[in-house]
């Protein structure tokens, strides 16, 4: 079994796409059900962290900017680590991620463990 990082990204800048507190609350159950599902399959290695949407980017020459961090609107909202046989299986697991229901995406990357 290999380990994979699942990185959740979504648009944190466009005003119309932001979630209301009620919508955020309503996202709790699908997230917990999805994480519980991975854990029940013994495929969750780490439940990772959620990230605050505020952040800074440090560039060469002491240049510090606020987000967006790259030339895309999406920013990282959180990550977890899962266990899977290969990249395809890891991507299959990522298909259930609730971030996909709110316009986000999941980047799947294998961890280099040695």
């Amino acid at each position: 079994m290999k380990e994979f990082l699942l990185v959740f990204r979504r648009d944190f800048t466009t005003k119309e796409l932001q979630l209301s507190p009620e919508q955020m609350q309503a996202m709790m159950k699908p997230w917990q059900d999805w994480m519980g599902s991975l854990a029940a399959q013994n495929k969750l290695v780490s439940n990772g962290n959620r990230l605050n949407k505020e952040g800074k980017v440090v560039k060469p020459g002491s240049v510090v900017t606020n987000g967006p961090y790259v030339e895309i609107k999406e920013a990282i909202g959180g990550y977890i680590i899962v266990r899977a046989a290969d990249l395809d299986e890891a991507a299959e697991l990522a298909k259930g991620c609730p971030v996909l229901q709110i316009g986000g995406n999941v980047e799947v990357r294998q961890l280099i463990l040695e």
């Binding site: 159950k29 917990q32 059900d33 994480m35 519980g36 599902s37 854990a39 029940a40 399959q41 013994n42 969750l44 439940n47």
Partner: protein, 410 residues
């Protein structure tokens, strides 16, 4: 109570107290002496009471005899030491019989048991050794009873306990509460041991149901000592005690007249012990402080919702979320299966089946029992197929009986 009932009863309750207090005095170097004195005391009781009748206060009788035996031993030991090492002055002072102080008051019994608990749960011992030694020194279980509980033989247990005591001696483990820094760390191991002790009684396949119930009662008694002492009265300790109370409340309801297991759905809830449920709620409330959410908190919350017999969306949603979080802390196949059952109850049968099929716990009869259960109202033939598969994998007569009755009821 007749003598033939009284002595085993007293042995069960008093042997361990005498061992804890004397063990505290003698230390692990001479722990066997403490055990021997306690055993000799009961041997003498059996002989004397048989001839002269039961004394007015049997417990006081036992304590006096144990105390005198211990003091005589210390005196002999001290005289011996004085003869061969007259240079050591502080030991010779112990010839005064009052000096070593054998205190069999309730407070000192509790303190000694608590200290013994922490000493036994030392990191140098395996968890199995910790549980075994706890059963022997803290619960007063006989070697054959411990062997029954672990489904093994007496020689194995004797060897295991002997080795465990050797390790505690080599490591020079003192029978005392560790300092406040270490107490948190060691408490973790103490709670694990109590949790296993309780589960051994609650879920074990050992046939003797009295023994099983005793294991649970002992685990609860020791856990109670923890929450009674300010330095060990932590949220996790309260959560574990709450969990045990909720489970224990179903003792009467979960076994039928012929010792057969009665599943949760079929239990007569009027047999649930409401006093224990209330106690569980009390400790669950006490556990709700601090920021740490331990697995005991989650398991206690799940058990709390199980004390509501009626199916409500709220009940199953809470149980599901409890299992979701529990599995993120620690995976276990049984939690995965229970989570899937709760998911089917909360989110619907079809989603439950889809999730169940992802588990692929194909060597586990509970897995096929779950699939059979989920399919029973959708596809009877499929349900029967799964239950037959479960039946062929199950080994204990209790499990086989449970599955067979499910097949019969399809």
């Amino acid at each position: 109570m007749e003598q033939q009932e009284l002595i085993p009863h007293l042995f069960r309750n008093e042997y361990r107290k005498i061992v804890a207090v004397l063990g505290k005095v003698f230390g692990f170097d001479y722990i066997e002496t403490a055990e021997d004195i306690a055993s000799d005391t009961f041997l003498l009781a059996a002989e004397t009471w048989g001839q002269k009748g039961i004394p007015a206060n049997p417990v006081a009788w036992l304590y006096t005899v144990a105390k005198n035996k211990a003091l005589n031993h210390l005196k002999r030991d001290a005289l011996f030491t004085k003869k061969i090492t007259p240079a050591i002055k502080h030991l010779s002072r112990q010839t005064d019989p009052e000096e070593p102080g054998i205190d069999l008051s309730e407070k000192n019994i509790n303190d000694s048991q608590l200290q013994m608990m922490f000493a036994i749960c030392h990191s140098s011992l395996s968890v199995e050794a910790q549980v075994g030694l706890s059963l022997r020194l803290l619960c007063g279980f006989g070697i054959d009873e411990i062997a029954d509980a672990f489904l093994t033989n007496k020689e194995t247990i004797n060897k295991r306990l002997f080795r465990a005591k050797e390790i505690l001696r080599t490591e020079k483990v003192a029978i005392e509460l560790p300092g406040s820094y270490e107490i948190g760390q060691r408490l973790e191991a103490v709670l694990t041991t109590l949790y296993l002790l309780f589960n051994e009684g609650y879920y074990s396949t050992a046939v003797n149901s009295t023994l099983r119930q005793d294991l649970c009662v002992e685990a609860m008694r020791l856990n109670y000592l923890l929450v009674e002492n300010p330095s060990t009265d932590t949220p996790s300790a309260n959560a574990l005690l709450a969990l045990m109370c909720f489970h224990a409340s179903r003792f009467e309801a979960r076994t039928g007249q012929d010792g057969e297991a009665i599943l949760y759905d079929d239990q007569d809830e009027s047999l649930w012990n409401s006093e224990l449920i209330e106690k569980g709620e009390y400790y669950l409330n006490r556990s709700a402080t601090g920021s740490q959410l331990s697995k005991y908190h989650l398991e206690a919350a799940i058990a709390y919702w199980h004390t509501h017999k009626q199916d409500t969306p709220e009940k199953w949603e809470n149980i599901l979320q409890g299992y979701n979080r529990l599995l993120q802390i620690q995976y276990s196949p049984i939690a995965a299966l229970n989570r899937t059952y709760a998911l089917a109850k909360a989110n619907g049968i079809r989603e439950g089946i889809a999730e169940a099929e992802k588990l692929q716990l194909t060597g586990n009869h509970f897995y096929y029992t779950l699939l059979g259960e989920l399919y029973k109202n959708l596809d009877r033939e499929k349900a029967r197929g799964y239950l037959l598969q479960a039946l062929s994998l199950a080994r204990s007569p209790t499990d086989k009986g449970t599955i067979q009755s499910k097949i019969d009821r399809l």
